[in-house]
Symmetry: D2
C-alpha cells in the first residue's frame, strides 16, 4: 500500500521575494515549520541564488511581478534589498496581498507615510520585521513586565553592539548608525517598556574605524531616552566588539529588574589555573536570532490565518524611524530633541 | 519564467521506520536540514500516525517490509518500539541497507551479539542512537578534553534526572532504571572520558513512588565508576525532579575541570525582593536535545555519504548494556562488580 | 613565664573623628587590621556614642579640638557630619596632621578650593574617601583595563541604585541626587576609564516618591558622559530598587568588555518548580563595601607610612563635585553641559 | 575630658592554645569580633610565634599548663598540633573549662571515646571545629532544607578538592585522605542532609603524585553514601586541582535542588575574543572560609555565654571518624561497609 499527502486546502499560500540570507531563512521557516502556511514560490533577480534555497516543490521566479500577478498567492514576505521596499510594498498592497516586510518600510518619513496610506487603502495586513521582539530572551523580559513582576518601568538600558563593522560599501548606503543599528533598539525600548519615547539625546564618536568618520557616520554611540511615563533609558551601540554580538537588555521598575543576557553556543564552564571560562556569545544576528526569525514570520502567518492584526504594525516601523531621525538631529545639534519635533 | 528543482541524484535515499515522536523528529531533520539526504518514505503500523508527519512528497507505508524491499532505499533509521529493534535490524542488514537504530540494539547480551554478527556479515554501516553525544554542551566538554584543556581525566560526575516518572505501563517493560536511564549515562561517561569503565558499584532506593519499588525497580540511584586509567566517577539518577530535566556533566582532570550545565529556555534574570530568578531548565529530552537529535542523524548520514565509520558503533551500544548489567548485578549483590564479570 | 606586647614605636598614630557608623568601621579597621597604624583616640560630640566603639585602650573625647592639640597624633580620619568637613579639614591641616576625609570636602566649589589651598600650604597628605575604588570587584575591572585586557575604553556604563530612599530629613540637606549619589559614580567613571569627563547630559524624573519631587529633587536619573578620548558613558541612578543595593559597572573597550556584577551573601542556587533562585544582592553600602571601607583607610595609612601620595586626591574629590554641578546644570537647562563651563 | 573603656565583667574569658595559622585566626576573631568574649591569654611552644599574634593586652605563655591553672580562664580553644589534642582536651576538661577543639578529637576511636567520657564526667561544654558548617554558602543550602524548599533529601553530592597536595611530611602523619580530607565531607553530608549515613563504599586511585601511593595513601577518591532515609550520596576528593580550592555541595530532594558553588575573589566577567572569563575560586581554606572560622568560634562562645549545647558535639566529631574508618575499610576490602560494622 502506498500513499502521498493531500495538501490542506486552507493553508495560507505564501511567496517570499528576495533570496538573500534573510529570504532563505524565511522560506525554510515557512516551508518546514509553519503548518498554517504553504510556500508556493520565491523570487530573486538572480535565479541561481533562488535555486540554492533547495525546497522541494517551490517554484522559482526572477521577476517578483509575476508572483504578484498570481491569484493563488495570498501573503508575501518582502526580503529584497532595502531600496526596493517602498515600491514593492505598494505593488503588493495594490495586488491585495498581505505583507510582511523587513525594515525599513522606506527611506524617508514622507515615503513611509505614503506607503502606509496605500497599505491602508487596500485593506491588507502589514507587518514590519522587527525580529528581536520574537527572541525568547527579550520576550521573557517583556513577559516579566506584563506579568507585573517588574512593576512600572523606571529605567530601560539596551546594549547592542556588532561583532565587526559591515563592509564600507554597505556603510555608505545604510543611512548611518542611528538608522541602521539604533532603529532596532528604539523599537526594543518601546516594546519592552510599553511606553512611548518622548525625547532623545544622542552623542557618539568614531573610535573603531576612521573611515566610518570620513563617511560622516559614528561607530560608538550613547542615546538617552525619556519615556512618556517619566522613565529614562539608554541605548549604547558599537560597530565592533571584537568578540561577538553583544545584545543585552534591562528593564528596571518599581517592583524588580529583569535582565536579558547574551546567548552562548553551549552551557560549558572550564576552570583552569587562569580562571573559569565560557565560550563567547553567538557571533551575529544569524546565529543569535534564529528563533526570532522564525517567530516573526510565524506571528505574521498566524495573524493572516486568524484574520488578526499583526503584532508589529506599520506605525511601529514608522515610529522607529522617527526616533532615528530625532537621534540624528540630536547628535547634529548636540541637544536633546523632543520626538514631537520630528514629522 | 518558471522552474522547479531537480533532485540531486547523489543524495542518500533514506527511510524512517516508526513514526512515534522520535521517528517524526528524525524524518523532519532528514527531509529539511540534511542536504546529503533525501527522505523517500516512512512507515508506521498506524498509517494515521504516519500521515501526521506531513512532509511533502514522502511516501507512507504501514508495513516496513515493503520499504526494505525497495531497491532505492539506501539507509534506514529504525525508531520503532524497543522490542522490535532486534528483528528489524537483522532484516535491514540482510537487505543490505545502512542502519541507524535507537537504543537498545536488543534486550539481551546474546541477542545483541547475534545482531552485531549479522550486521558485520552483511557489511552495512551501523550506528546506535546515543543522541546525547551530539548535544552542543556535552560535545564542548568533550572538546575541552581532546584539546588538552582538562588534561588526563581523574573524576567524571554525571547528573541525570527526569522531570517525572514515566507511566507505570512503560516502567513495567523498560527493563529497570539502569537499562532505561543509566545506560545513556554509561555511554556519556565513556564518551567524555575516552576511557573504558572497568568496575561499577550501584546502590539506590525507592523514594519517589512506591509503585516503582513494587515492580522491583529503583527510582533514585548512585553508581560509582572505576575507569581503566584509574579515574573514578559517579552517576546519579532520579526519576523525578519536580522541576524539569536535570542533565549535567563534569570532567575533572589533571589540568582543569569542565562542567556542562543545564539548558534553559532563555537568558533572563529577574531580581525582585525575594531574590534573583531564572526560569527552570528545559522540560525533558524533546526540549533539551533537539540539536542532539539532529546531530546524531546528521552524523549517520554524513558517515554513509562519505563512506566512513559512524561515530557511535554497535560496540558502543553493546558496552552500555554490559555496564547496565554490571550495575544491576552490583545492586542485587551489593558489591562492586568488575565489568569483565559480565559477558 | 608571662609577657605582654611591646608597641611598635614606628606605627602611625591615628585618631578618628566622628563615631557614626562610618567612623566606627574606620576605627576598627585601623585598630585591628592595619599593622602600620595605632589607633590612639576617637571623638564624638556624644561621648556615649564614642563609648560604643569598644576598642581596648583607645581614648575617647567629646571635643575633636583636644585631639588636634595632641602632638602624638599624626594622622586624622574625619568622619563627622558633612557640614563640618570644611572647618575640620582646615583645622587639621593647620595642626600639621595628615588627613583622610569622607566626601564631600565642602559644600561649594569655592569652599573646596579654599580647603585644598590650606591643605597645600600646610604640606599635609590629603585623601578623599571614595571607598568604591577599593571594592575588590571594581578594582578588578580597573585592573583588566590597566592590564590591557579591555584595550582603549569606548563605553562605560554604571548602574547605582539604592535599596530605598533615605529619610526625608536627610534628603533635605544632602544637596540632591547628583551630589549625594551620582558623585560616587562620577568618580567611578573616571577611575575605571582613566579618562577625564568633558561633557555631561543629565535627565531624570520623580517616580519613587512624590515628596522627593516636592523638595525639587529627582529619584530616577540617567546621565550621559562624554570622555576626553571620545568614549561615551552612562550613569543610571535610582533611590529605590525594592530589593537591595544594585551596584554594577561595565567598561567596554577596543579589545574586550569587563563587567563588575553585584555581590550576594552566598553562592547558592535553588532550583524548584518555579525556577532557579539566588538570594538578592547585599542590602546596602555597609554590607556591600566592607572591604572597600577597609581598603581606603588602609591605602591612606600605607601612603602616610611610606610617605607617598594617597591614591585619591583632593583634586579627585573636587572633580566629582564639578561633575555633579555640571549634571545639575544640565538637568536644569535640559542641555548637555561642558565640564569646562563649571568653575 | 578623657576616658578609657571599662571591661565588661560578664564577658567569657578565653585562652587560645597553639599559635599556628588557625590559632592566630581564632585569637583575632575572639579579641576583635566577639563582644561576649575577652581574650585573656594565648600559648605556643614557640614564644616567638605567639608574639606574632600582636593583639594588644593579651598575655603570652609557652606552656599551656600555666593557662589551664589560671582560675579566670573559663573557655579554651585548642588549636595545637593534632597529636596533642587527646591529652590537652583531657587536661582542660579536668580543669573544668569549656572546650573548643580543632578536629580530630584523637587518633583512634578508643581514644576518642575515652576523651568524650572525661569531657562528660567533668560537665564541660565541648565543641569540635567542623568549620565548614559555618560557611555562609553551605549554611544557606542547609537552610533551604530546613525551610522545606528542598523537601526530603534524596541525593547529596559533595565535591572537595585541594589546590595542591600538602608536603610529604604532612602526608606521612595525616592518617590518609579519608581521615584528613573526607572527614570534613562526611560531616558536611550529615549536616546538610540531617540524616545519618548507614553505609559507605570507597574507591580511589593515585593519579596526582606517585609518592602519595608509596605512602599507601590515595589522592583521588569517590565515596558512595547511603543514608538512613534511603537517600544516596557521593563525595569526590582530589589532592590537586591545579587551579584552587574546589568546594561545592548539592542537596537534591523531593521538592527541589540546592547547589552551593565556589566562592571567587570578585564578581567580574571579562569577555574578549577567547571567551568570557572569571577569576579562579579562592585559593584554599584560609581564603575560602574566613567567615566559617569566625562562625564556629562565635557559635562556641555564644553557647558558653548562653549556657547552651554547642552546635557541633563530640559525637559529631566521633561520627566523622567512624565514617572515615568505614571508608578506609571499604577501600581496603573493596566492598560496601555498613557503618554499624565500625566501633
Amino acid at each position: 500500500m502506498k500513499k502521498t499527502f493531500n495538501s490542506d486546502k486552507e493553508k495560507i499560500r505564501v511567496a517570499v521575494l528576495g533570496m538573500g540570507r534573510q529570504g532563505q531563512i524565511h522560506s525554510k521557516n515557512i516551508a518546514y515549520r509553519i503548518p498554517e502556511a504553504e510556500l508556493l514560490c520565491v523570487s530573486d533577480i538572480s535565479i541561481e541564488r533562488a535555486e540554492k534555497v533547495g525546497i522541494e516543490g517551490v517554484e522559482l521566479y526572477d521577476d517578483y511581478k509575476e508572483i504578484l500577478a498570481r491569484d493563488d498567492v495570498e501573503a508575501v514576505v518582502i526580503a529584497t534589498s532595502t531600496d526596493t521596499h517602498e515600491q514593492i510594498i505598494k505593488e503588493t498592497a495594490r495586488a491585495g496581498k498581505d505583507i510582511f516586510c523587513e525594515k525599513p518600510i522606506a527611506l524617508s518619513l514622507e515615503a513611509i507615510d505614503e506607503v502606509l496610506d496605500i497599505v491602508d487603502e487596500n485593506g491588507v495586513k502589514f507587518m514590519v520585521g522587527f525580529n528581536r521582539r520574537f527572541d525568547p530572551t527579550f520576550m521573557r523580559v517583556k513577559e516579566h513586565l506584563t506579568e507585573g513582576n517588574i512593576g512600572e518601568p523606571h529605567i530601560v538600558n539596551i546594549t547592542s553592539r556588532d561583532p565587526k563593522p559591515p563592509h564600507l560599501e554597505y556603510l555608505k548606503v545604510c543611512g548611518g548608525i542611528f538608522f541602521d543599528t539604533s532603529v532596532h533598539d528604539f523599537d526594543m525600548a518601546r516594546f519592552l517598556s510599553e511606553e512611548e519615547i518622548t525625547e532623545v539625546y544622542a552623542t557618539g564618536s568614531v573610535l573603531v574605524d576612521e573611515r566610518i568618520g570620513e563617511l560622516g557616520d559614528l561607530d560608538t554611540t550613547m542615546i538617552t531616552l525619556k519615556f512618556a511615563n517619566g522613565a529614562v533609558g539608554s541605548i549604547n551601540n558599537s560597530r565592533k566588539t571584537g568578540y561577538s554580538y553583544d545584545q543585552r537588555v534591562e528593564v528596571f521598575g518599581s517592583n524588580g529588574c529583569a535582565i536579558g543576557n547574551n546567548e552562548r553556543p553551549n552551557r560549558v564552564e572550564l576552570t583552569d589555573p587562569k580562571g573559569t571560562h565560557k565560550d563567547v556569545p553567538l557571533y551575529f544576528n544569524i546565529e543569535r536570532y534564529p528563533e526570532a526569525f522564525f517567530g516573526e514570520v510565524n506571528a505574521f502567518i498566524k495573524a493572516v490565518y486568524n484574520d488578526e492584526e499583526p503584532p508589529v504594525t506599520g506605525q511601529d516601523g514608522r515610529t522607529a524611524v522617527v526616533l532615528s531621525l530625532a537621534a540624528q538631529k540630536s547628535y547634529e545639534e548636540n541637544r536633546p530633541v523632543k520626538v514631537s519635533e520630528i514629522g
